[in-house]
């Protein structure tokens, strides 16, 4: 009881009120995140509807293997995050830290793979901008070369796809980096013994956030990587 009281901020009347407030706040935050990514998804959908072939071809440059691998990594990280929240509910400080570290490692793997993919795009001149160059060479991938897909007129639309690819995955990666920062903060708090059975809202909220970031990727992966497999 006394332990719980010490975490009650001065302006709340009870722990319950405090917990409900932070939970509602987090859900509202996620609602605004949905609108944020929603704007991007709408713009992407409109262009994809306009230029279905070009988007399919452009998507063929992306490595489904890496994408699928990253999807698995991220789902695993959601699992470890959920376990960290569970540990927090049980008041098990050691396990909180272990699971959060595991989550962070998985996140780093994800970002590392993303880095590899970005570098690859850079070497293929597929980063949008003045240096963008579209060479209809699909050796590494399974998109067939036809007169249509190899046509230079495609370049503009392919570049459009890559603009969205980089903005969307970049925004997603930025959210992950922020998540990593939050987890470092959690570890510091946990080391100082701030969490207890009564007070673990920060772990829970970070967990919600992390699951949201995961879900965004679950949408991004098929939208960006699997376009041509319809």
């Amino acid at each position: 009881m006394a332990d719980g009281q010490s975490h009650l901020a001065h302006h709340f009347d009870s722990m319950e009120q405090q917990r409900e407030s932070s939970s509602l706040g987090m859900w509202l935050f996620l609602a605004q995140e949905v609108m944020f990514f929603g704007g991007l998804f709408v713009a992407y959908a409109i262009y994809r509807f306009k230029y279905p072939e070009a988007f399919a071809v452009a998507s063929g440059y992306l490595s489904v293997g890496w994408g699928a691998f990253n999807t698995v990594v991220l789902i695993c990280s959601s699992l470890t995050m959920a376990l960290a929240v569970r540990a927090a509910q049980l008041g098990d400080k050691k396990k909180i830290i272990q699971y959060i570290v595991a989550t962070m490692l998985l996140a780093c793997v994800f970002l590392g793979v993303k880095g590899v993919e970005y570098t690859e795009k850079y070497h293929h001149d597929l980063v949008p901008g003045p240096a963008f160059q579209y060479v209809p060479d699909f050796d590494a991938y399974t998109v067939p070369v036809t007169a249509e897909t190899a046509h230079p007129n495609f370049a503009g639309h392919v570049q459009l796809f890559y603009s969205f690819y980089f903005v969307m995955t970049g925004m997603h990666a930025l959210h992950m980096v922020i998540g990593l920062g939050l987890m470092i903060w959690l570890i510091v708090k946990a080391l100082r013994g701030r969490f207890s059975r009564e007070y673990y809202a920060p772990v829970e909220m970070t967990g919600l956030y992390w699951h949201f970031v995961d879900i965004v990727w679950i949408f991004l992966f098929p939208l960006l990587y699997l376009v041509w497999r319809h």
Partner: protein
């Protein structure tokens, strides 16, 4: 109208009077409510002014019937406005089939226009009185907006697509032409005049083409471009031609290789020239090169005019 202090601009098209009628209706409704509300406020403020610092007026929670009244009356009024405005709007933007077509290109910061006779103009547009005129608009750079207050009409000129606007002048004279969409440093200089001439005078005017400039009609220019750019090599009516036939193409239904059908309007034809891969006609190979950069917007409009004429 009061000459020295006008509140309504010149009415130089049939539509102008219609729009003004609607405008006056709106003003009437607005004035009624404004005066009603203003008078009630002033009356209440005097009638119910505070006389003693300890006044405690009786409580009034609300009045359901009153609420319904002042919900339903405005609702009916706005529905009238909506229908009237929408009907007029459709009239404003549905040109009659026999309208004379003038091609208009906006660029920072001028308007370029070509008449059916071939005559070019910049920032000044001569049109005949009493004949419907349809403008096809596009832009070479940013979004502009073609605005003629005396005709009560306006349309954006958007890069990469065609928009249309039409009017039928009813009075001769000169009227302002403005660019209404902010387009950069000299936006306020992107303006000119619409000169409405008697019909015969317009015909004479349009026929006076400067021989040095060798101005062709849009149709002739389009035909020449069609030949010069070698379009004929593939797009001929012969069977087994490499490209789809363009005779009778305009406004026909085209089946694409992905199963969709589209109507071949101006935007479709334009896109097929500058982005040939966007829509492939069923049964043809995607082999056409793009003509983006090789044809400017005026030339594109001329070729389209020519293709539209083929029947």
């Amino acid at each position: 109208m009061n000459e020295r202090f006008p509140v309504i601009p010149d009415q130089a098209s049939a539509l102008a009077r219609d729009v003004d009628m609607l405008y006056l209706f709106l003003i009437g409704v607005s004035a009624f409510f404004l005066i009603l509300i203003g008078a009630l406020i002033i009356w209440f403020v005097f009638r119910f002014r505070r006389t003693s610092d300890t006044d405690r007026p009786a409580e009034i929670h609300g009045h359901t019937k009153l609420e319904i009244v002042w919900t339903v009356i405005p609702l009916v009024l706005v529905l009238i406005m909506f229908v009237w405005g929408a009907v007029l709007f459709f009239k404003q933007f549905r040109p009659p089939a026999d309208a004379m077509e003038i091609l208009v290109t906006g660029k920072q910061w001028m308007w370029k226009m070509q008449h059916p006779s071939g005559r070019w103009e910049i920032n000044e547009l001569h049109v005949p009185v009493g004949r419907p005129v349809k403008l096809t608009l596009t832009s070479e750079d940013v979004i502009h907006s073609f605005y003629v207050p005396a005709f009560r009409t306006k349309m954006d000129a958007v890069p990469g697509r065609y928009t249309t606007v039409w009017f039928e002048p009813t009075r001769t004279g000169s009227y302002h032409l403005f660019c209404a969409e902010y387009c950069g440093a000299e936006h306020s200089l992107m303006k000119g005049w619409i000169h409405v001439l008697p019909a015969e005078e317009y015909d004479d005017w349009a026929a006076r083409i400067d021989p040095d400039l060798a101005e062709l009609t849009p149709l002739e220019a389009g035909e020449r471009l069609f030949t010069e750019m070698g379009c004929m090599a593939c797009h001929n009516p012969a069977s087994g031609a490499l490209g789809p036939n363009v005779v009778g193409l305009y406004m026909s239904e085209v089946r694409l290789d992905d199963g969709r059908t589209v109507i071949a309007d101006e935007d479709y034809i334009r896109q097929s020239i500058v982005e040939p891969m966007a829509k492939i006609v069923e049964g043809y190979q995607p082999i056409m090169p793009t003509y983006r950069g090789q044809l400017d917007e005026s030339q594109l409009m001329q070729i389209i005019t020519y293709i539209k004429s083929l029947e």
